[in-house]
């Protein structure tokens, strides 16, 4: 039994390795230049990925959350249960109207529901999860008692806190685009705002530089992983076929 499973896994692993190797080469061929093989790989990938997503939604959303509860709800005497189950069906019917250009307007009912729910969620999340905690964290840099409680040098904390505060404030000001028309017709921000925004530009540059380095690190890791997978496939081939 164990051997049967291994024999089955080996072909699947081998097939997976072959496909992985093939598609990796096809995509990396773009380093030479755009070519049909690269396009074939990308279009096929988009199709398979979309099909995969549709499959996941079918099995993870529609079946367990819509279809499975339907019959029990219909057979149930509980009106609440029926409403709980049938309302999503109604919403689904509305939103599927979006496929038809003539009936797409009806889909706005469901979209309005989703947008309203999303608006409430982002409001509460932004206030309770970002704004208040981030304000508090910025203020705490200058809390001597807190620094003492953490057994941290206050000057060090306050110094770093000042830089962070300056970075946060100037970055926010940088995104302030209110301007006034000048005598020569150009649009310029208020003088003090302009200076603060210039400082904020430096902080933004640093932050984007850090993100850039992180993106490069992630891409480099992906490159390493792909090269490593190719060698793993070669190793698998060698071990599988005794080369």
């Amino acid at each position: 039994m164990q051997g049967k499973v291994n024999k089955m896994n080996i072909p699947l692993d081998l097939l997976s390795g072959v496909l992985s190797f093939l598609f990796t080469i096809l995509i990396l061929s773009y380093l030479i230049g755009d070519n049909p093989l690269f396009r074939i790989a990308t279009y096929l990938f988009v199709g398979i990925a979309s099909g995969y997503v549709a499959t996941v939604i079918w099995w993870q959303v529609l079946v367990p959350r819509l279809m499975t509860p339907l019959l029990p709800a219909l057979n149930s005497d509980s009106l609440a249960l029926k409403i709980f189950v049938l309302v999503p069906w109604l919403g689904m019917a509305f939103i599927l109207m979006k496929i038809s250009p003539r009936l797409s307007g009806i889909a706005s009912l469901t979209m309005a529901f989703l947008v309203g729910a999303g608006a409430a969620v982002i409001i509460a999340g932004a206030v309770t999860g970002t704004l208040i905690p981030q304000f508090e964290a910025t203020i705490n840099f200058f809390d001597r008692d807190l620094a003492a409680a953490r057994n941290i040098d206050f000057l060090e904390v306050a110094g770093n806190g000042a830089i962070i505060l300056a970075g946060a404030v100037t970055s926010l000001v940088y995104f302030h685009f209110g301007a006034r028309p000048q005598a020569d017709g150009s649009m310029r921000r208020f003088g003090l705002i302009e200076i603060i925004a210039w400082v904020g530009r430096i902080f933004i540059g640093i932050t984007l530089g850090a993100i850039f380095a992180g993106v490069y690190a992630a891409a480099l890791t992906a490159l390493i992983e792909r090269i490593s997978s190719i060698f793993d496939f070669i190793t698998l081939l060698r071990t599988t076929f005794g080369l």
């Binding site: 380093l31 030479i32 230049g33 995969y52 997503v53 996941v56 939604i57 099995w59 993870q60 959303v61 079946v63 367990p64 499975t68 989703l114 729910a117 999303g118 969620v121 982002i122 999340g125 932004a126 309770t128 999860g129 970002t130 905690p133 981030q134 508090e136 964290a137 962070i164 932050t207 850090a210 993100i211 380095a213 992180g214 993106v215 490069y216 690190a217 992630a218 480099l220 890791t221 992906a222 490159l223 390493i224 992983e225 792909r226 090269i227 490593s228 997978s229 060698f231």
Partner: protein, 884 residues
């Protein structure tokens, strides 16, 4: 209290009585107020003089001119008025209170003195004898007068008998008293016309025999209206050199005998709007011998009806009485009316031909605007009363003069033609050229004599065969050409039973403003707004001379010649051809392919790209293929990882841990390398029950891949030691739902089996019941959402984020704010953590040499390439600046 004799029965009535107490005939004119557009004129309402000076600009030019000339001529024509006082002077005496009643021009005399500057029309000026003379400065009363051309006293008649018996419209035509200084010239020329008509009666036109014969013998008395007399005189003067034809004789007949009136056979007439006297009164025996036959033959029916057939009883009171009375014509008198129509038409036509166009008031011209004299002789404002088709489309009461052109030159050159009757009614005959009036002294104007049929036959013009007389079928044709207002009058059912209007309430009020109604001779007020339209062009020539806005076309709009034919072949000069050639060259230069200046840059960029690719691939392939571990693992522990190194100490054994998967397959290598050390450490030390939930579609399978990959050594079993809840849709909505109620948001696992009764989730129904929460994500936005939506629900449990290196900078603030317990940033974090994971080998270490090499390569390339780019860029900008 003055006494008014009933024109119908002769009964004396007090002047304040409206109707005769004996026969109920109307004694007072039917008029209405001049002002108050919102008020309709009601029967029996005595009009009051209104100040309508502000309305003066709205008047037709001819009317304004007439008014001006009337004032001007008041001082100029005393002699004429004194000599033409054949009409009883006392006739006007009792009518004075009622005479000023609102006729269709009543109240206009009250205009301001500025109106005196208005230009006097030539024809009016010629009538008065002098157009350049200043108008009389005498104050004019606001009393209404007929045609608004004379003072109220102008109507004073010398003959007291005629005062009572003569119809008011004739009374208004009586010669003015000699002492009257404020008289209007029009009365004079009316009178003159009457005098001039005298000889014409002696030359009866044979073509009008039939109608004339039916008329009673006319008595040439002085009470004949002046204008009739003048018409007669004019006709006589003009007919002599004229060849007799159908139209030539018409003026003669029309001079004194409006046969169309005389043949009405008892139809009551009220020639003046203000004259409410029934026709019977006109037909009274007190009418002297001079009374024309047509007056004598007027029916005894007293009717005051509007010519509109649909409203036989509800007659607009502003309608001239003489016209309104036509509505009482008997249907049996149709044959007579046909003759009348013919007579009137031919007369009008001839008169119109005689009168130069600039002299004829437009509303008079309108009656003769068509080539068919009998069709269009009736003024439009009269013809509109009928339903006859083919009427000229001209302002109603001004009657389609647009197509009729009368030039003075033509009239002078062809005097014979000027005699042709084109249909101007006899009562319009007064509009003859002024020279006729001037040439005829007032003293020579004899009493108006109505010619008998014999006399008419004896006229020299009878030598010419009368066209219409010879045609026995003309009667039928004439009927078709009869003025519509006459046709309507005959068709009016009520006209057959003319009765005196005794009940004023039966009359429906008109909706037209009284001043407009007062200005119109008949129901043609609809044409008046035409002059009020936006097109206020004042017609200076033709039949519409003096009118505003009646012709919408711009002067010169109509093409006068055939459009010029233009060749479609392009003819260009040499200069134009040269310019076209230059333009072609410019366009060719714009569209020609230009060798790309940046082509070398593209080749250079491709070389650079290949160079970068080659360096990265070579370094990675070498380090990976050789499995080198040249570069040391990172020893420095970032602050965000310090708490994680000992996280296993704060988690109890076999504790439920929630692992949220939110990264794409593209980062699977990095994320597995970063997450595996921590999870391996935990599984090794605490054997936690792992529960995976994914917030992207591939997360659930990536979790399976993770468990089946680097963590497979722990032999965790699905639904026993770990559970995969699968995909949680909805993004932040799903995260919030799951944080709020995990059991409701994700009741089933990835195999669609109930999840919350499985061992991995034993004792867990809420988020904060997990021992720890680990988020594996490559997206800072996903991390923010997880942090935000679980902020107050996760309690104090450790919240660890294993992030991609690209997301770590944006998650740092949350670690700084203590919302996140620790962060493992990508491969570097995994490499660090591996060193604290019991020295277990990991993926991160296998990647690290290539990673470090790639980082150093990036430093070299970015730094060196950046400097090169900076210098080259500055050089290019400097060259560009020098070039400029």
């Amino acid at each position: 209290m003055e006494i008014i004799k009933c024109p119908s029965c002769g009964e004396n009535n007090t002047s304040d009585m409206e109707f005769c107490q004996n026969c109920q005939a109307r004694l007072q004119p039917l008029t209405g107020p001049l002002k108050g557009e919102d008020k309709a004129i009601k029967p029996g309402q005595i009009p009051t003089n209104k100040s309508t000076a502000e309305l003066e600009p709205l008047l037709p030019k001819w009317l304004k001119d007439a008014r001006d000339s009337a004032r001007t001529g008041e001082e100029e024509k005393p002699a004429q008025t004194s000599s033409a006082n054949q009409m009883p002077a006392q006739q006007a005496a009792p009518k004075k209170p009622s005479a000023p009643a609102g006729d269709f021009l009543s109240g206009l005399q009250a205009q301001s003195g500025d109106d005196e500057d208005d230009e006097v029309p030539d024809w009016l000026a010629s009538i008065t004898g002098d157009t350049s003379k200043p108008k009389s400065a005498a104050e004019e009363t606001t009393d209404t007068r007929w045609v608004e051309m004379g003072n109220r006293n102008d109507y004073a008649q010398e003959d007291a008998a005629a005062d009572a018996d003569t119809p008011s419209w004739l009374a208004g035509l009586q010669p003015l008293e000699p002492h009257t200084e404020e008289k209007d010239e029009l009365t004079d020329w009316f009178r003159t016309a009457a005098e001039e008509q005298k000889p014409s009666y002696q030359d009866p036109a044979p073509i009008f025999e039939s109608p004339v014969e039916q008329m009673p013998p006319a008595k040439p008395v002085d009470d004949t209206p002046d204008w009739l007399r003048q018409m007669a005189a004019d006709a006589e003067a003009k007919l002599e050199p004229v060849q007799a034809d159908v139209y030539q004789d018409a003026p003669e007949f029309s001079l004194d005998a409006p046969d169309w009136l005389s043949n009405l056979g008892g139809a009551a007439m009220e020639s003046k709007p203000e004259s409410a006297q029934p026709v019977k009164q006109q037909e009274s025996t007190e009418f002297p011998l001079e009374t024309p036959d047509w007056l004598s033959s007027l029916g005894s029916v007293e009717i005051e009806s509007k010519p509109e057939p649909a409203q036989p009883v509800e007659i607009p009171l502003e309608t001239p009485d003489w016209l309104s009375s036509l509505g009482g014509a008997e249907a049996a008198q149709m044959s007579e009316e046909e003759s009348v129509v013919f007579a009137e038409s031919s007369l009008a036509g001839s008169e119109a031909e005689e009168i130069p166009s600039f002299d004829i008031p437009d509303w008079m011209k309108s009656s003769a605007d068509d080539a068919k004299p009998l069709q269009d002789t009736t003024p439009r404002w009269l013809r509109e009363e009928s339903n006859l088709a083919g009427e000229p489309e001209v302002p109603a009461w001004l009657s389609g003069t647009g197509s009729f052109e009368l030039s003075s030159e033509k009239a002078e050159e062809t005097p014979a033609q000027s005699e042709d009757s084109e249909g101007i009614p006899a009562w319009l005959k007064a509009a003859e050229p002024h020279h006729f009036i001037e040439e005829t002294p007032a003293a020579e104007v004899g009493p108006l004599q109505t010619p008998s049929a014999e006399e008419e036959r004896s006229r020299p013009f009878n030598a010419e065969p009368p066209a219409f007389e010879a045609d026995p079928t003309a009667t039928e044709d004439l009927f078709t050409e009869m003025p519509s207002w006459l046709s309507d009058a005959m068709e009016q059912p009520s006209s057959s039973t003319p009765t005196a209007i005794t009940n004023t309430d039966a009359l429906s009020p008109s909706e037209l403003p009284s001043w407009v109604q007062a200005m119109r001779p008949v129901d043609a007020s609809a044409s008046q707004p035409a002059s009020l339209s936006s097109d206020q062009t004042l017609e200076s020539r033709g039949a519409l001379a003096g009118l505003q806005g009646v012709l919408p076309a711009v002067p010169g709009y109509m093409p006068t010649s055939k459009p010029k034919a233009y060749s479609i072949k392009l003819t260009a000069s040499d200069e134009q051809l040269a310019h076209a050639e230059i333009l072609e060259q410019i366009l060719a230069a714009e569209t020609a392919p230009v060798p790309l200046e940046v082509f070398s840059n593209l080749r250079a960029s491709r070389s650079l790209r290949w160079l970068i690719s080659a360096l990265l691939l070579i370094g990675t392939i070498l380090t990976v293929s050789l499995r080198t571990q040249i570069f040391a693992s990172p020893s420095g522990v970032p602050n965000e990882m310090r708490n994680l190194l000992f996280i296993s100490q704060s988690i109890p054994d076999n504790a439920p841990i929630l692992v949220a998967m939110d990264y794409e397959p593209s980062r699977a290598g990095e994320m597995q390398a970063a997450a595996a050390p921590l999870l391996d450490n935990l599984m090794l030390l605490r054997a936690p029950r792992l529960t995976f939930i994914a917030t992207n579609e591939t997360g659930a399978i990536l979790a399976e891949r993770l468990m089946a990959g680097p963590l497979a050594v722990h032999n965790y079993t699905d639904r026993v030691s770990y559970l995969n809840l699968g995909y949680l849709p909805g993004g932040q909505l799903g995260i919030r739902a799951f944080a709020q109620s995990p059991t409701l948001a994700a009741p089933l696992d990835i195999s669609l089996q109930p999840a919350w009764e499985t061992p991995p989730l034993e004792g867990v129904i809420a988020l904060n019941q997990f021992a720890a929460m680990i988020l594996i994500t490559d997206n800072a936005e996903a991390a923010r959402i997880w942090i935000e939506q679980t902020q107050e629900l996760r309690g104090t449990m450790p919240f660890i984020i294993i992030s991609s290196a690209q997301a770590a900078p944006m998650i740092q603030p949350y670690y700084n704010s203590a919302q996140v317990t620790g962060i493992i940033p990508g491969l570097q974090g995994g490499a660090v953590f591996e060193q604290y994971n019991a020295s277990r080998p990991g993926t991160a270490r296998s990647y690290w040499d290539a990673y470090s090499l790639g980082m150093l390569l990036a430093v070299v390339l970015v730094f060196g390439g950046g400097l090169w780019s900076l210098i080259s860029g500055m050089r290019e900008r400097a060259n560009a600046g020098e070039g400029k």
